[in-house]
């Protein structure tokens, strides 16, 4: 379900592609990502009539970096510093035991009470929706939020569950076997969203 992250082309060096070197198509550059985040920050404030009772929870990895950027923008606009948490959904995945190895575990840190709060989940790419399903299950183990909203940088379609985003940076029509790769300054050294041809064996989401 997280094949966009788990099967990044650069994580699989030396796998030869029968179609030759893939030609990545750049969907968003650094400036466009910055504008998208600014717009989403405004939309979150507009929808929730301010920052009161709103908390941000990013899904590791990269969703947490985007959540911190959103919090930064909202503080710039509204002057309110929203709490930011990070959620690792590994333990809530629906495919544990279906992969050869147990999926790698990341940090979870939700150091605030979510009871009665409006939680904005933040992720980089919305694809099958399975990650979000797992994230909602994880979140309700921390308490009973008043509402859960979803913000994503890219919605690439191909949903397998009845889930939609409240705030979207960019809708990107894709083929199901393409790879959408989000690079962020914090982890990858640059900001970019690219669509790549599948490398090697296709892995479904």
């Amino acid at each position: 379900m997280r094949s966009d992250r788990d099967a990044l082309p650069h994580a699989r060096p030396g796998v030869p592609s029968s179609r030759g070197a893939p030609q990545p198509t750049r969907i968003l550059d650094g400036t466009e990502i910055r504008r998208a985040i600014t717009r989403i920050a405004h939309e979150i404030l507009e929808r929730n009539k301010g920052a009161e009772g709103v908390v941000l929870v990013g899904i590791a990895a990269r969703g947490d970096d985007l959540a911190r950027r959103l919090a930064h923008e909202i503080e710039r606009i509204e002057g309110t510093a929203l709490p930011v948490g990070v959620l690792d959904i590994t333990f809530y995945r629906d495919d544990i035991g279906m992969r050869a190895e147990a999926p790698e575990v990341h940090e979870t840190r939700v150091a605030f009470d979510v009871n009665g709060k409006t939680v904005v989940l933040v992720d980089d790419v919305l694809f099958t929706g399975r990650t979000i399903r797992a994230a909602m299950d994880a979140l309700v183990d921390f308490g009973r939020p008043r509402a859960i909203q979803l913000a994503v940088l890219v919605d690439r379609g191909h949903r397998e569950l009845p889930i939609r985003a409240d705030f979207v940076g960019k809708n990107v029509p894709t083929r199901k076997d393409e790879q959408v790769r989000v690079a962020l300054e914090e982890v990858d050294g640059e900001d970019a969203v690219v669509v790549e041809e599948p490398i090697g064996m296709g892995e479904d989401g």
Partner: protein
């Protein structure tokens, strides 16, 4: 990682780091109001304990339950084992019932290895005879790394009844694997003759070792395993090798005092020493749950076993 965890020798240094890092995430789960995640829903873990153990069994039970696995506790008293069932028949029965993992403690060294011949699931060694107790060593490494920030280059002493201690063996192998220096300390009768082959030093003088330590690990005097007189009296043992208040003063500042439990207060460790802030004995217990969750998750969270069998 292998399908089973029988010995520290089954693990590479890389595996150890992966286990400790995974345990870090599971410790966060232990701080939540709802201390449970659905990761191993539908999996069955059997605790098969041929030796009495409260803390290790409870720790494994809690670990499995916090992962949402189903847990069966099979203790030998009052069971088919008391009626004379062999280890093999017990294993085949558990196999037929679909156990995904068997956590075994046995008084015979090598019993867990033997068990792997009869079952398809993962076998976790929770202590076998005087051989190994790998999960204890891993939780000790976790505790040390968390407190001191690293393992490489640290100097540790393991003091006491090394001869009968599976904890001492597993911990020595693990510390040496991670690049720490280990000195075994105790009366010559309780230091195994093959100890130098483990890559450790040996000393019979605790006073000479203490001032150079980062970790002082005290072992329980296992009188139930001692089949002969290894030292003249408990009082003399306590005087020569016990960790007294006075000896704690010889440790460098920041050095940790550890003990696998259960303690004999007043024998290997003075009662008030066990309660000092640098004694991390309760942290070891808490971290034990996280380590065992990490191991169950890593061993059962993939399809590795079945995939390997199919290949």
């Amino acid at each position: 990682m292998n399908q089973h965890l029988l010995s520290i020798h089954d693990l590479s240094a890389e595996d150890v780091v992966r286990i400790l890092d995974t345990a870090e995430s599971f410790r966060e789960v232990g701080t939540r109001v709802i201390k449970k995640v659905p990761a191993l829903r539908g999996r069955t873990v059997v605790n098969l304990f041929y030796e009495n153990s409260t803390r290790t069994r409870i720790s494994f039970e809690l670990a499995a339950k916090r992962l949402s696995a189903d847990v069966i506790n099979f203790s030998t008293s009052g069971s088919s084992v008391a009626k004379g069932e062999s280890l093999k028949d017990t294993a085949l029965t558990l196999q037929a019932m679909g156990a995904d993992a068997i956590v075994i403690r046995h008084s015979s060294s090598g019993a867990p290895l033997t068990l792997t011949r009869w079952v398809r699931g993962s076998v976790l060694n929770a202590g076998d005879g005087t051989h190994e107790h790998p999960t204890q060593a891993l939780l000790d490494l976790y505790t040390i790394r968390e407190r001191l920030g690293r393992l490489e280059g640290l100097r540790a002493a393991i003091v006491g009844d090394v001869l009968h201690s599976r904890v001492a063996r597993s911990l020595s192998f693990a510390l040496v694997k991670m690049g720490a220096g280990v000195t075994l300390v105790g009366p010559p009768t309780l230091i195994p003759p093959d100890a130098p082959a483990w890559g450790v030093d040996v000393s019979y003088d605790i006073g000479a070792v203490l001032p150079k330590l980062d970790v002082c690990y005290m072992l329980r005097v296992q009188r139930e395993r001692q089949r002969q007189q290894y030292f003249p009296s408990v009082r003399e043992y306590a005087r020569l090798f016990g960790l007294t208040r006075e000896r704690v003063g010889m440790l460098p500042e920041g050095a940790l005092i550890m003990h696998p439990g259960p303690m004999n207060r007043g024998v290997e460790i003075d009662s008030d020493v066990a309660d000092l802030p640098q004694a991390v004995i309760e942290e070891q217990v808490t971290n034990g749950i996280a380590i065992r969750m990490a191991l169950l998750y890593l061993l059962l969270g993939g399809a590795g076993a079945e995939a390997g069998e199919a290949a």
